[in-house]
Amino acid sequence: MRLKNRIGLLLLMIMLLFGLTGCQRAEMSVFDPAGPVAKMQLSIIMISIYIMSGIFVVAMGILVYVLIRYRSRRGQNQPPKQVEGSWVLELIWIVIPIILLGILVVPTVTSAFVLDEKPAGPNVLNVKVKASQFWWQFEYPDLGIVTAQELHIPTGTKVNLQLETTDVMHSFWVPRLAGKTDLIPGRTNTMWIQADQPGQFQGKCAEYCGASHGVMDFLVVAEEPQQFQAWVNKMKNQQVKPASELAAEGEKLFAQNCASCHAVAGTNYKGTLGPDLTGFAERSKVAGVLENNEENLRKWIADPAAIKPDSKMPRLPLNEKQISAVTAFLRSLK
């Protein structure tokens, strides 16, 4: 019975691995790649799973056979034959793994070099990624745009990322587009990504970076090239005009309390310590993690540390009314 339980359990687990990979909602799944980098990585993952499953099945087959066939039985008075070993067998289980690993080495090395390329040329979009505790800045040096928390990219285009950090180590990870590259103080790392289909792809910080590491999220927004161009044009020609009296009041409060850290294109607010807020109302998240609606924005402004402990953004001396005003102003930044 024990033996059967064990076999059953193992089979169940293997089924879990292969069976359930296809039927999940897949916003962040490595199994649902949306670009060539993640596809390349998934193909290596699958090759290695196949090879390794073969080895696992063989080893466990032997184990199960041995456990059934060679259990001690009543009436065995003589000890079994003492076998020293077998050089033929040793050679077999040295040579076969070498061949299997040789098969795995080929895509490993070739992909490593392909992923290490630094794409250049007129068809490549350059983005400087700057991470800080606990937010992401995306600067498009060729387009003169700075944004935060949401990286807009055109589909079908290689995007060359230059990764830098202002404080501790972070790591840039968008499971559906590409594996990680670390952001390290004193270094500029590079990687490239490409989205083959439009969509929003969840990104995570993957190197432990402090109290709010777990909520240092960002989004990659992939759009058709025309839409991307429209977004670029909008970002470059921002005109900020508060839509209501409350929002106008909010702008004054913003100038006094927020502008030393936050920038908004088309205004005089040029702070660089915090995320750039140009086009904030169009973003889908507040602080990268909360859905962008009025309630969440109020919650964030009222007490940033409740959402992201150790966030550099202080709790500002604003009353309820003032928070409403600032919220109204921010929500007018289209």
Binding site: L101, V168, D182, G210
Partner: protein, 627 residues
């Protein structure tokens, strides 16, 4: 070791007088006996295993659902930092050293380790090092930079409290203990084997202990250096790892992983050794391919030093470096595979008895093979960019460290428990313990592979809702509690053994090696007469010849024993005081602590303690043995 009686008699009288019996606690505090030191190592290891386990349970409760606020984010970070630190440094290492202490001298037919005094120093340094790291909770804040404490998150600017100081100083002190322990075991195994025990007649647990000690000898110095630099950065204002001041945070990562990867083999190789002993004994067969097992062990240890970059594939060293280290890492799979297949073929043709130690060894096999499989998967650098720092990695190293080390350790503990205590544990409870641990383990950690591939980074106190992560985390949490039950069952079984356990006798398992030729529990001098070894598995050879035990290599005679000493404890206390004081920049107490250490060392160097002798008539258990 024993001197002829006439020679002993020419010595001053005190050397033949057996010291007075001490109160048991004082005896343990001053002991230099490898068996008692081993027991204390195991106790320390089990204690921190439980501490680390409770910390893990708190984390699993937090992760049961997304946006949970059972613990704060900062507390969660402290929990995973202390969980990793405790489990690696203060659970796995003491458990390994404990079993090495308990068993290696017995397996090679020695009466103690080469340096019994230094052995006690190792234990107490480990003890106070662990204490120092863990009391940080009571001094305001526990470290929270993760067990590999990457710079700059662990430097003053981002970890301003004292928690990281406790971590650095505590690890440094415990590290000294490990280094001395390793030197001790290398000297013991190379010099103190019984007559006839050539290197290729040593039991595999002794072999793996030797290789693991060699790894410690080369792997701990980089850690020591790294910790010194870290200490200077944090306590004395240097900038080795501070990029803003011209330092390099990657330097720490290199030093840490040059230590950190061999560390995996330091803890897992002795576990392999235990599995080898258990599989051979309970199959009643000689270990299949003994020689290739030995070479595989050495090879794993050797290649283990050339793969550390695979912990840093995403640092951006470029395709060439990553490819080289990817291939080196894959190569480790080959000697590991040799081991697995040799274990399988040891059982092939045997008469397998499903006793508790064997159950753990059998649970080890599929679990460790899965850990090895994911290890090879991780070695493919471009694929690792996806796995790296995700829950896939968490799953992988728990398969290796629990599936490999802990299962191996439990196999060894159940196997040698009767030898150490003289009592047998309950078989039924043992099987229950095994099944709870085996099922709980896979329930906890198998889903983590999937959580990682569905996009969950490690070290996060919360995760995105609605992307398919909930179910895997809930299974993990349930599994963690099942594992906790298994630990409780283990405690019950130990209590049972002490209260009602059957007497074990010399050889309860029909085993093969020298430790089973002597009484259980083992007398303080181990062997009244050192055995004569004529081949691998000397006890089995004797049994095949129809003899009760292994022939002796010497006549009965007085046995020279080392004296108890409180100095190792005093030295450790001195270092503890100095460590605590330096964290708070108290110069007076730092110097005081170091002076206590130095004076104790000086006293030990000048004190001419010749030990004492146990005379043949004081060896009641010697009679009838070896006759």
């Amino acid at each position: 070791m024993a001197k002829p009686l006439e020679e002993v008699m020419r010595h001053p009288v005190h050397t033949v007088v057996t010291p007075e019996k001490r109160f048991w606690l004082l005896d343990y505090l001053s002991t230099v006996d490898h068996k008692k030191i081993g027991q204390m190592y195991v106790l320390v290891g089990v204690f921190y295993l439980i501490v680390g386990g409770l910390q893990a349970l708190l984390m699993r409760v937090q992760l049961f659902s997304p946006d949970n606020h059972f613990v704060s984010y900062q507390l969660f970070n402290q929990l995973f930092t202390m969980h990793g630190t405790n489990m690696i440094f203060f659970a796995a290492m003491p458990l390994i050293f404990g079993l090495m202490n308990l068993i290696v001298p017995l397996q090679i037919g020695a009466r103690d380790v080469a340096f019994p005094f230094m052995n006690a120093v190792s234990l107490w340094f480990t003890f106070v090092g662990a204490l120092l790291v863990n009391i940080s909770w009571f001094f305001g804040d526990a470290p929270s930079a993760g067990w590999f404490a990457y710079a700059p998150i662990g430097l003053n600017q981002f970890s301003p409290g004292h928690g990281m100081d406790f971590f650095i100083i505590g690890l440094q002190i415990a590290g000294f203990g490990s280094l001395m322990g390793a030197i001790n075991f290398i000297a013991t195994i190379l010099n103190m084997r019984a007559p006839g025990m050539t290197l290729l007649r040593m039991p595999l647990f002794t072999w793996t202990s030797l290789v693991a000690s060699g790894l410690i000898l080369f792997a701990f110095p980089p850690l020591t250096v790294g910790l010194f630099l870290y200490m200077f950065d944090r306590l004395f204002g240097s900038h080795f790892f501070d990029a803003a001041m011209g330092g390099n945070p990657v330097l720490w990562a290199h030093l840490f992983w040059i230590f950190g990867h061999p560390e995996v083999y330091i803890v897992v190789l002795p576990a392999f050794g235990m599995i080898s002993e258990v599989v051979a004994t309970f199959s009643r067969k000689r270990l299949f391919g003994y020689t290739s097992m030995v070479f595989a062990t050495v090879l794993i240890g050797f290649i283990g030093f050339m793969v550390w970059i695979h912990h840093m594939f995403t640092v951006g060293f470029g395709a060439m470096a990553n490819s080289i280290f990817a291939i080196a890492t894959m190569l480790i799979g080959i000697p590991t595979g040799i081991k697995v297949f040799n274990w399988l073929f040891t059982m092939w043709g045997g008469q397998i008895r499903f006793k508790t130690p064997m159950m753990f060894a059998l649970g080890f096999l599929p679990t460790f093979v899965l850990g090895g499989i994911t290890g090879v998967m991780l070695s493919a650098a471009p694929a690792d960019y996806q796995y790296h720092d995700s829950y896939f990695v968490v799953a992988h190293f728990h398969y290796v460290l629990i599936g490999g080390v802990l299962f191996g350790f439990f196999a060894g503990l159940y196997y040698w428990f009767p030898k150490v205590t003289g009592r047998l544990m309950h078989e039924g409870l043992g099987h229950l313990n095994f099944w709870f641990m085996f099922i709980g383990f896979h329930l906890t950690f198998f889903p983590m592979h999937l959580a990682g591939l569905y996009g969950m980074p490690r070290r996060v106190p919360t995760y995105n809702a609605g992307v398919g992560l909930e179910i895997w985390n809930q299974l993990s949490t349930i599994g963690a509690f099942v594992m906790a039950v298994s630990i409780v069952l283990f405690a019950v079984n130990v209590a049972y053994a002490f209260i009602r356990g059957k007497k074990a006798g010399n050889d309860p398992w029909d085993a093969r090696t020298l430790e089973w030729t002597i009484p259980s529990p083992v007398p303080e001098y181990n062997f009244a007469q050192r055995p004569l070894v004529r081949g691998l598995d000397p006890l089995w050879m004797a049994k095949e010849e129809g003899k009760a035990t292994v022939p002796p290599a010497e006549p009965l005679g007085p046995i020279h024993m080392p004296s108890n000493s409180y100095l190792p404890l005093v030295m450790a206390v001195g270092l503890f005081i100095a460590g605590l004081a330096v964290i708070y920049h108290r110069l007076f107490f730092t110097v005081l602590g170091l002076e206590i250490l130095a004076l104790a060392m000086l006293y030990h160097s000048l004190n001419d303690d010749e030990g004492y002798h146990v005379l043949p008539e004081e060896q009641p258990l010697a009679k009838g043995e070896g006759a």
